[in-house]
């Protein structure tokens, strides 16, 4: 998505990304990012919280108007929850899962190789 934002900017259309994966967007490099420190999937607010969703879009509009340089990141002041355990839990690898994950990867690679040999795609 950040690559699309860059292409629009290169062609004269100002853009703003509302995103939760701050590192991915900033490494790619975009003109303006409103960073929502929320779980991936809901960068515009907590589900069904219309007031928060309006506020976050409002912050995005403020940033669209105020940024004068590329790579301008503003962090939304809205918080997901007092409980931040979701940050630790995303794609967390528990020691007891390690073997199962390794096997799952092996199985997927084998399926892909088989599909490729058949001329299809897995």
């Amino acid at each position: 998505m950040s690559l699309v934002a860059r292409h629009l900017e290169e062609n004269g259309i100002p853009t703003l990304v509302i995103g939760a994966a701050r590192d991915i967007v900033e490494e790619c490099g975009v003109a303006r990012l409103l960073f929502s420190d929320f779980p991936l999937g809901n960068p515009c607010g907590v589900p069904y919280d219309k007031k928060m969703q309006q506020d976050i879009v409002g912050f995005a509009l403020d940033l669209l108007e105020s940024a004068t340089l590329p790579r301008t990141t503003v962090q939304s002041p809205r918080i997901w929850s007092e409980d931040t355990s979701w940050k630790e839990n995303y794609a967390r690898i528990e020691p007891e899962q390690a073997e199962a994950l390794r096997r799952a990867g092996e199985a997927r690679r084998a399926a892909q190789a088989k599909a490729q040999a058949r001329g299809g795609s897995a």
Partner: protein, 166 residues
């Protein structure tokens, strides 16, 4: 307050570690640029027409379709009026433990933008939003999808674009 780590999640680190645990030896190479293009607003926001771009796909008609677990393979567009009450997101890497995507406004804020049109903060919302596939291949995004989104934005005569990756 103090911390010993970044307080926001590094998804680049997490993804690399997760795939390494599955035995993938070559980590994904994320896009990285030194130079960043910047277009200034050409008119007041109150006169601007706004485009909305999502990484979600059009809703599936049936779950039994063999392609039903795959996301869009090409750029697509949908009407903002009426706003969609659901979109297909199962193929995307959102946080399925912490949340859900049943409220489309959490990633495609059409109603929220409409309140800002009504208050006069922005001029108008383009009549359609656009969907862009999340493609492993940055080449395909750059060569196919980005130019197609630009073409549609120009066709809709938008002045600014809000892009919301899930």
């Amino acid at each position: 307050m103090t911390t010993t780590h970044r307080t926001f999640v590094s998804y680049i680190d997490r993804t690399r570690e997760f795939y390494a645990a599955q035995g993938y030896e070559r980590p994904y190479r994320w896009a990285h640029h030194e130079n960043v293009p910047f277009a200034a607003l050409s008119k007041p926001l109150a006169s601007c027409r706004v485009a909305l771009v999502t990484t979600a796909s059009a809703p599936r008609e049936t779950d039994t379709d063999p392609g039903s677990l795959r996301g869009a393979k090409q750029v697509w567009s949908g009407d903002v009026d009426p706003a969609p009450d659901r979109l297909f997101t199962d193929d995307l890497s959102w946080d399925k433990l912490a949340t859900h995507t049943n409220d489309v406004e959490t990633f495609l804020p059409i109603e929220a933008l409409r309140t800002h049109v009504e208050s006069g903060r922005i001029g108008s919302l383009a009549p359609r939003f656009h969907g862009v596939p999340t493609d492993y291949s940055q080449r395909r995004t750059l060569e196919n999808d980005a130019p197609e989104i630009l073409r549609r934005c120009r066709e809709d005569e938008v002045d600014v674009a809000l892009l919301v990756p899930l």
